[in-house]
């Protein structure tokens, strides 16, 4: 079942070229994509490719200029139901410091449900379960500003979880983190998707984060360049390279070896797969 459905979505920022209405710069140029309930989708592309703009349409922070965006069947243009959309889809941003509001971790996580008018006992339950889900329960009495980047970002995710959304959209949540923080956040998101069937849309520059998801959407200049399973997408090494996008080094190496005559059934995405395939040839 389609949970998020963009139909021929176009978008431009108003006010940029008021004097020359014919000169507006389209950020999205007819994007049609969908995300199924429970799916884990990665969206990759350059800065300016429109991927962040697309993600902001998913919880009605931005409304389409043309085409339409359906979230669980609700048109985001329907003003009366905008809060329903925002309750269904939570957004996590790049910089955790800009998203934390309280001076104690558990109060920060409670901020969302408090604003939704949830009963106090229910808030308690949600805060505890959200913090446990991202493995931050032991830090519930800590001050957010004293946490590491990865921990802060997980608190921000818990804050979204406490509103019990069906879907979480994360806009480059690991761009500011060190490798360990990056892994903590990605494994927390993966767990939420697998164990609680929360739909996840992960916007990222890091191809290694995209290899474990169900599907990859590649954006380029406001359009969808290609989409498919990680293997289908990353096997197009030459094409992605031409658009100056990264592919995992494991995939790139095997693609080059294929070029000199080695035959692989499909290209590897992860370190372990690559080692397994190469050891068969080399040992």
């Amino acid at each position: 079942m389609e949970f998020i459905q963009a139909e021929n979505l176009t978008f431009y920022y108003e006010g940029e070229d008021e004097e020359q209405p014919n000169n507006v710069k389209l950020v999205l140029k007819g994007v049609s994509v969908s995300v199924r309930k429970g799916e884990f989708v990665a969206v990759i592309g350059h800065n300016g490719s429109g991927k962040s703009t697309l993600s902001k349409h998913m919880n009605a922070i931005l409304l389409p200029t043309g085409g339409r965006m359906l979230v669980d069947g609700i048109d985001t243009n329907d003003e009366d139901r905008i809060y329903d959309v925002r309750r269904k889809v939570g957004l996590v941003l790049q910089n955790p410091d800009n998203q934390l509001v309280a001076s104690i971790v558990e109060e920060d996580v409670a901020f969302g449900p408090e604003n939704l008018g949830v009963e106090p006992s229910e808030i308690r339950r949600r805060v505890d379960s959200a913090l446990k889900a991202v493995d931050m329960y032991d830090y519930r009495h800590h001050a957010p500003h004293k946490l590491s980047g990865g921990q802060k970002q997980r608190v921000a995710i818990a804050g979204i979880l406490a509103m019990e959304p069906d879907c979480i959209v994360l806009d480059e949540p690991t761009a500011m983190l060190d490798p360990k923080g990056r892994e903590e956040v990605i494994s927390a998101i993966t767990r939420l998707n697998r164990e609680q069937s929360i739909t996840v849309v992960l916007i990222t520059h890091n191809m290694e984060e995209a290899v474990d998801c169900d599907r990859v959407i590649v954006m380029d200049s406001g359009k969808v360049l290609t989409e498919g399973t990680p293997v289908e997408v990353f096997s197009q090494v030459e094409r992605l390279r031409r658009h100056k996008l990264d592919v995992p080094q494991a995939t790139e190496l095997c693609s080059m070896l294929r070029g000199v005559g080695l035959s692989f059934k499909e290209l590897p995405l992860s370190t372990d797969e690559c080692v397994r395939m190469l050891s068969e040839v080399l040992l």
């Binding site: 350059h46 990865g150 490798p179 040992l283």
Partner: protein, 289 residues
């Protein structure tokens, strides 16, 4: 090779005599040669940024000192200003520090403060903008009208315009997309090659470090635990992983294959290098021609 920068027992403790007292840098003794590119890695809170800020005298160490060209930079506080012209520091997210009305004025702030004549300042602006890959027509725009990547380059140009002997960049590629990252690294590399100056580059991206560093400095819990060639450092992948760091994927793959008995050398850092080595083995075995 001559030693340009040397630290001796360099230490820094935050919040002395408060409940928040924390030793951020512990007894760092390093020597950096003229013209080297040093990659600096370490987990968040490992003391990288504090160390970098002591190297240009922005933070005064609580113990030990820094020698630049053999002179103790903290001996006479009046000379610190000169030290900062020689050791240029680009902070994390430098685009947040742009403040002037135009990009040109912003870049000129450093050289103007050095007391250079207007003509020389103008020359430096154009040169720095070129090195940083900023198009000339952007110079008269407001820095706030630039894209994220352009802002970052404008901020870096502001430091390059002082023509520092040592250029320190604290996570210059964080938050950039792969293309922006590649372009910036190439520019830093080209700048280094043409000026022959010393560069310290802090990064979480091991791939970046593997590509341009002559030596890698690893910080862990405030201490300098390794300072060696990328090959030697990345060959110690188990130790790095225990410190919350990673080696480039290609290094990990070739190290695992090597451990399984494939005749690959230690510390392969790039895909091209791995490809050449594997092709060599395959050719020898007659599996490819």
């Amino acid at each position: 090779m001559s030693v340009l920068l040397r630290t001796e027992g360099l230490s820094f403790t935050y919040g002395i005599n408060t409940p928040f007292e924390k030793q951020a840098v512990k007894n760092v003794n390093i020597e950096i040669n003229k013209g080297e590119v040093i990659g600096v890695i370490g987990h968040t809170g490992s003391g990288k940024s504090t160390l970098m800020q002591m190297l240009n005298g922005l933070i005064t160490p609580t113990d030990g000192t820094v020698y630049l060209d053999g002179a103790d930079i903290f001996e006479n506080k009046k000379n610190l200003r000169q030290v900062r012209f020689k050791v240029g520091l680009v902070f994390q997210y430098p685009e947040n520090q742009l403040f002037e009305e135009t990009v040109r004025k912003d870049i000129s702030f450093g050289p103007r403060n050095m007391g250079l004549p207007a003509e020389a300042v103008d020359k430096r602006i154009r040169k720095a903008a070129k090195f940083a890959g900023l198009r000339e027509e952007l110079l008269d725009r407001s820095p706030f009208d630039l894209s994220g990547g352009e802002k970052r380059r404008a901020a870096i140009a502001g430091v390059i315009a002082m023509d520092p002997e040592i250029l320190i960049l604290d996570e210059p590629t964080a938050g950039l997309d792969p293309m922006g990252r590649d372009v910036l690294l190439e520019q830093i590399d080209a700048y280094h090659k043409s000026r022959g100056n010393t560069v310290l580059l802090v990064s979480h991206s091991m791939e970046d470090i593997a590509r341009i560093a002559d030596r890698v400095l690893v910080m862990y819990k405030g201490e300098c635990v390794m300072l060696d060639t990328p090959k030697a450092v990345f060959a110690r992948s188990d130790e790095l992983e225990q410190m919350g760091l990673r080696v480039p994927q290609i290094t990990k793959i070739t190290t695992m294959l090597r451990d399984m008995g494939v005749a690959l050398p230690e510390g392969i850092l790039t895909v091209d290098e791995a490809f050449e080595q594997i092709c060599g083995i395959l050719r020898k075995e007659g599996k490819i021609c």
